[in-house]
C-alpha cells in the first residue's frame, strides 16, 4: 500500500520547494520521511523504498540517511514517545533522576514500548531548552519544560488517561510590555524600542 499515492498535492508541494533537478528531488527526502513518521510514528522498510523511488535514489541511501539522524525511528514507538534531554544543562538540573524515574515508573526501556502500548522513552541530546531545564519532549508535539517531580507526576497521570496536557513553551520574559529589558530586581532599565529611533541623534547631542 502506497502512502503517498493519494497525497499528490502534498508531494508536489514538497518538491516545489527545491530545484527541479535530480539533486533537488533528492532534497525532498527528509521532508517526505518527516511526513511518514508524523503519520505512522516510524518509517518502515516499504516506506523507505517508496520514498527512494520518489526521490530518485535507492533504499540503501534512504536507510543511510534515516540512520544518520537521531529523530527518525525505524521501530514503532509508543503512543507517547517521551524524549528526555540528558545533556549538561539538563543533567545539572537532575534529568538523570527524571530519566530513572520514568524508566522505573513506566517500566519501559529505550527501544521498547510499554505493555499498554502507551509509552516509549528515549534519551536525547540537548533540545535547546537549557534555561528551563530539565525538560522533555512528547512525540513531536512540543516541549514540556521545568519538569520537576510533581510536574512529571501530573503529566504522566494525564497521559495515562490519554489526556495530553498542552505543551508549554514558557518564554522567559525579560522584556516588558514597553520593550524595556527588566533587571532581576524587576526594574526596567535602558531605553525602550519606541524611543530608539532618536538614539543616534541623542548620542550626537551628548558629545
Amino acid at each position: 500500500m502506497s502512502y503517498f499515492a493519494e497525497k499528490q498535492p502534498l508531494v508536489a508541494d514538497i518538491f516545489s520547494r527545491y530545484p527541479d533537478s535530480p539533486q533537488g528531488r533528492r532534497s525532498a527526502l527528509m521532508p517526505l520521511l518527516r511526513e511518514v513518521q508524523d503519520a505512522e510514528g516510524f518509517v518502515s522498510e516499504s516506506r523507505m523504498a517508496e520514498i527512494a523511488a520518489l526521490c530518485g535514489t535507492t533504499a540503501t541511501e534512504v536507510r543511510s540517511v534515516i540512520s544518520f539522524y537521531s529523530t527518525y525511528h525505524t521501530l514503532p514507538t509508543g503512543k507517547y514517545h517521551l524524549q528526555v534531554c540528558s545533556t549538561l544543562m539538563c543533567a545539572l538540573a537532575g534529568s538523570d533522576e527524571l530519566w530513572d524515574h520514568l524508566v522505573e515508573t513506566l517500566d519501559v526501556q529505550p527501544g521498547e514500548v510499554s505493555a499498554d502500548g502507551r509509552f516509549s522513552v528515549q534519551k536525547v541530546e540537548c533540545l535547546g531548552s537549557c534555561g528551563t531545564a530539565p525538560m522533555m519532549q512528547i512525540n513531536d508535539d512540543g516541549y514540556y519544560e521545568n519538569v520537576g517531580p510533581s510536574k512529571c507526576a501530573r503529566i504522566l497521570q494525564s497521559l495515562r488517561q490519554d489526556l495530553q496536557p498542552l505543551p508549554d513553551n514558557p518564554v522567559p520574559v525579560t522584556v516588558g510590555a514597553d520593550g524595556r529589558q527588566v533587571l532581576a530586581t524587576g526594574q526596567a532599565i535602558g531605553s525602550s524600542v519606541t524611543g530608539l529611533h532618536r538614539l543616534p541623534e541623542q548620542a550626537g547631542g551628548e558629545a
Binding site: T60, E61, V62
Partner: protein, 723 residues
C-alpha cells in the same frame, strides 16, 4: 610550480595535490581513504603533513626572511598538520613529512592508534593478511602498541553482501572507498554507511550487491573488510604465485593478476592499465575462474571399440587420429578454433591450413564483416558524445560500460606521475555532476539504458540505417548529438552487427566521416580482432562452423557447437564439453590463464598473456597440439612452439609479438574480410564459470538468521576492560 618536500625541490604541474607532491619527491605518507581513481575525501587523516607557503606583500613581492642575498621568501607554516590528499600544492609550498617532522610522525602514529582501536587482531585468519595496507602502514608508522584498555567494537564478522563479496564489519576502518566506488564508478547507490559516529557500518538495502562490477571493492578495500568470497581462505597472500596477464573473457582485455597456489587458480585481482581498464574489472573476469581448476581434462581421450572415451597417451591419440583420418584428402579436414585463441595460435593454425590446403577453416564467434576500430577506450572516456548501437555491454564488454560512465562524469582521467597514477586528483569530486545528455543508447534495454539521456528502442539490424537516415524525433536528436559533438564515438554491438554485410560497413564509414565520429565495433570474441588479421575464415568452397555437420572431418579447438563433424572428429578443449563427448579423439587444452601469447582487444591494442602455474596434466596449447595433429597427418608442422609461431606471425602480418609489453600497444592490421558468420548471442557468464558449490553462503545466512553464533575460544581476562 616548484614544491619543496623535506627539502627536496620538485617541479610539478599546477593543481597537483600535496600527497602527489610528496610521492613525486620520492617521499612517502600513509593513506587509506585516497584512491587513484576515486575522489579525494580526507577522512582517514593518515596523510597528515606539515605545510607552509610563502606570502606576498601588498605590492606583489614575497615576504622575505634573512638579509641581503641570503634572503629567501619567508614560509608561513599552517599551525596544524594538514591532510595532504585534499590539499592542493601551491607555488613555493614547503611540505614536511614524518621523515623530517616530529609533529607529523606523532600525528600519524596517533592516528594509526585511533584507526586500530576497534580493528580486530585477526590478521592470522584474514585473507588480506600479508597484502594489507593497514598492516603495512601500522608497521611503518604506528606506535607498535595500543593504549586502548577497553573491549573492541563487535559487529557482524561474516556478512555476505552478495554471493561473491563478504563483509567483515569489525575490520572496516570507514575509509568509504567502497561507497564512493559504487557511487562514482558504476553509478550505483547500492552501498552506504548506516548509523553515525562510532556505530557507523556499511550495508546495502538492495538485497545484495548487484553483480556486474561489485568485486572491485574487494581490491580497493585497504583492510580485510570486503573480501573475495570465491577465494575465501584459499591461501595466504605470500603463498600465491602472482601472474600478471590479460583477461580474455571479453574483447576489452583487462589487466589482471592471476593468483595460483599449488597448481590451482584460486583468485583473480584487477591489474592497473590506465589505457584499458584503469583499475577495474568485471565480476565475470574476477569471479568466473573456478572452471580453470575444476574437472579439467588432463590426458588425451580416445574412443575405444566399445564406444567409450578412455584416457590415452599423446602417442596413442596421434595414432588414433592417423588411423581415423586415413584416406581422407587433407584439404577436406575442417580446422575450427575459438575466438579466444592467441594470435600465435591463430598463425600456427592458418599456416597448417595453408600447408594442408584446407578449405573449411573458421574461428568463432565472429561478425560477418570485420570493422577495424578507430577509437580507443581513452577516446571513449574523454568523448563529448557517445552513441551505443545495439549493444548489451554487460554481456559483450562490461568495462567499456565503465569507460562510458567515466565520460558521463566529465572524462577526467587522473594525472600520471613518475610514481604512477595520481593518488589524489583534486578535480575528482564526490557525487560528481553527470551529463546523461551526452549518451545515446539505441537498441534494447540494458544496464546502460538507465544512464542515457537519449534512449531509442530499435531493432539492432537496421539501427545503423535508421541512425544514418533518422526517421523519428528521437533518432534525429541522437543524430544532432553526434553532429554537434567535437569528439563523438560510435559503439556498435552484436545486435547491430548481426548479419551485417559490406554495405553496412560502408554506411558506417560514411556516417563516421560525416560526423567525425570514431568507431568501435565490439568484436564477437575476445580475440576476434586479432584473428581477423589471419586467414581464418572459410576459403573458396569452404564451410563455416555453422555447417560443421557437412564437413567430412574436423579438428575443433576450444569450441563447443554441441555437434560433431560428418566424419572423424578431433576436439581440443579444456573440459569434457558436449562436443568433446561426441568426439573420436579428445586432446586436453590449456585455458588462456595458462598460455603465453598475444591477443588484440576491441580498440586494437595488442596485450600479452602470461602463463600462471595451474595444474593441467598433459594439456597443451594449440601450437603444440597442432604439431601432434601434423604428425598424425604426416605433414611438417609449420611451428613447433611459441617462438616458431611468433616467426610465422611476423611473416604473415608483420608484427613482432615477442616485444609486446604488459601495458600493450595499439596496432592496426591491414587485412579485413567479409564472410557470412554463424549466429551468435554474446553471453559473458557460462554455467561452468559458477560451477563451484555456493551453498555455503546460504548456509551461513540461514544459521545467522537462526540466531546461531560462532563458538569462540575463551577470552583471556583483560585488565581495565569495562564492557
Amino acid at each position: 610550480m616548484k614544491v619543496h618536500v623535506d627539502g627536496i625541490e620538485v617541479e610539478l604541474p599546477a593543481g597537483t595535490s600535496a600527497i602527489d607532491a610528496v610521492f613525486s619527491a620520492g617521499g612517502d605518507v600513509p593513506y587509506f581513504c585516497a584512491h587513484k581513481y576515486l575522489s579525494p575525501l580526507g577522512a582517514c587523516r593518515m596523510c597528515l603533513v606539515e605545510s607552509g607557503s610563502p606570502r606576498k606583500n601588498p605590492d606583489g613581492s614575497f615576504v622575505m626572511e634573512g638579509e641581503g642575498d641570503a634572503a629567501t621568501p619567508k614560509i608561513f607554516w599552517f599551525p596544524k598538520p594538514m591532510a595532504s590528499c585534499t590539499m592542493q600544492a601551491t607555488e613555493g609550498m614547503h611540505i614536511r613529512t614524518a621523515k623530517t617532522s616530529e609533529v607529523v610522525a606523532k600525528a600519524q602514529a596517533g592516528m594509526m592508534e585511533f584507526t586500530l582501536l576497534n580493528h580486530p587482531l585477526d590478521c592470522p585468519t584474514c585473507d588480506k593478511g600479508g597484502a594489507c595496507e593497514l598492516q603495512d602502514r601500522a608497521f611503518e608508522y604506528g606506535y607498535g602498541a595500543s593504549r586502548f584498555g577497553f573491549d573492541r567494537r563487535h559487529a557482524e564478522k561474516h556478512y555476505p553482501l552478495s554471493d561473491f563479496v563478504i563483509l567483515d564489519q569489525e575490520r572496516c576502518i570507514h575509509c568509504k572507498r567502497c561507497v564512493r566506488y559504487f557511487e562514482e564508478v558504476p553509478g550505483q547507490e547500492v552501498l552506504d554507511f548506516i548509523e553515525r559516529g562510532g556505530h557507523t557500518f556499511i550495508d546495502t538495502e538492495e538485497g545484495g550487491l548487484p553483480t556486474g562490477f561489485s568485486g572491485n571493492i574487494t581490491d580497493i578495500c585497504p583492510v580485510g573488510a570486503l573480501l573475495d568470497n570465491v577465494a575465501r581462505f584459499r591461501g595466504r597472500n605470500w603463498e600465491y604465485d602472482h601472474t600478471p596477464t590479460t583477461c580474455t573473457l571479453c574483447p576489452v582485455g583487462c589487466s589482471i593478476t592471476v593468483d595460483a597456489r599449488n597448481g590451482r587458480l584460486e583468485r583473480i585481482v584487477a591489474g592497473e592499465n590506465r589505457d584499458v581498464n584503469e583499475a577495474w574489472i568485471c565480476d565475470a573476469g574476477r569471479f568466473g575462474h573456478p572452471f580453470a581448476s575444476e574437472e579439467r581434462l588432463t590426458t588425451p581421450l580416445v574412443r575405444n571399440e566399445d564406444g567409450a572415451l578412455i584416457p590415452a597417451t599423446w602417442d596413442e591419440a596421434i595414432t588414433a587420429i592417423n588411423r581415423g583420418l586415413l584416406g581422407l584428402p587433407l584439404a577436406d579436414l575442417g580446422l575450427f578454433v575459438g575466438a579466444d585463441a592467441t594470435l600465435e595460435e591463430g598463425a600456427a593454425l592458418a599456416a597448417l591450413a595453408d600447408a594442408l590446403n584446407a578449405r573449411h577453416v573458421d574461428h568463432f564467434p565472429r561478425h560477418s564483416v570485420f570493422i577495424a576500430p578507430t577509437a580507443t577506450l581513452t577516446d571513449v572516456a574523454t568523448a563529448d558524445a557517445v552513441v551505443v548501437l545495439g549493444a548489451d555491454l554487460g554481456e559483450e564488454a562490461p568495462v567499456l560500460e565503465l569507460r562510458i560512465l567515466e565520460m558521463l562524469r566529465g572524462g577526467l582521467l587522473p594525472a600520471e606521475f613518475a610514481h604512477g597514477t595520481a593518488i589524489a586528483d583534486l578535480r575528482l569530486v564526490e557525487r560528481p555532476a553527470r551529463r546523461p545528455e551526452r549518451l545515446a543508447v539505441i537498441g534494447g534495454e540494458s544496464r546502460l539504458w538507465g544512464h542515457a539521456g537519449h534512449r531509442v528502442s530499435a531493432n539492432g539490424e537496421n539501427a545503423l540505417t535508421r541512425l544514418a537516415h533518422p526517421d523519428t524525433d528521437d533518432l534525429k536528436a541522437v543524430r544532432a548529438l553526434l553532429d554537434g559533438a567535437e569528439r563523438p564515438v560510435l559503439i556498435l554491438g552484436a545486435d547491430a552487427l548481426r548479419g551485417a554485410s559490406g554495405s553496412a560497413a560502408a554506411l558506417l564509414a560514411d556516417l563516421a566521416s560525416r560526423t567525425g565520429a570514431k568507431v568501435i565495433a565490439i568484436p564477437a570474441g575476445p580475440n576476434s580482432n586479432g584473428l581477423a588479421a589471419l586467414n581464418l575464415v572459410p576459403r573458396t568452397g569452404g564451410l563455416g562452423v555453422d555447417r560443421l555437420g557437412e564437413v567430412p572431418a574436423a579438428f575443433i579447438s576450444r569450441l563447443d557447437p554441441g555437434m560433431r563433424a560428418g566424419g572423424f572428429t578431433v576436439v581440443h578443449d579444456t573440459h569434457l564439453t558436449a562436443t568433446a563427448q561426441l568426439a573420436d579423439v579428445v586432446l586436453p587444452a590449456v585455458t588462456n590463464y595458462e598460455k603465453r601469447g598475444t591477443v588484440q582487444n576491441l580498440e586494437g591494442r595488442l596485450l600479452p598473456l602470461n602463463p600462471a602455474a595451474i595444474q593441467s596434466g598433459e594439456a597443451a596449447d594449440l601450437i603444440r597440439t597442432l604439431t601432434a595433429l601434423a604428425e598424425a597427418l604426416g605433414v611438417k608442422a609449420p611451428a613447433r612452439g611459441q617462438r616458431g609461431a611468433q616467426t610465422l606471425l611476423m611473416g604473415s602480418v608483420g608484427v613482432n609479438t615477442a616485444t609486446v609489453q604488459v601495458g600493450g600497444a595499439l596496432h592496426t592490421f591491414a587485412r579485413t574480410f567479409v564472410a557470412p558468420a554463424a549466429p551468435h548471442t554474446p553471453k559473458l557468464w557460462t554455467e561452468r564459470m559458477r560451477s563451484r558449490d555456493r551453498d555455503w553462503v546460504e548456509r551461513i545466512h540461514d544459521l545467522v538468521e537462526g540466531g546461531w553464533t560462532l563458538p569462540v575460544a575463551p577470552a583471556a581476562p583483560q585488565p581495565g576492560g569495562d564492557d
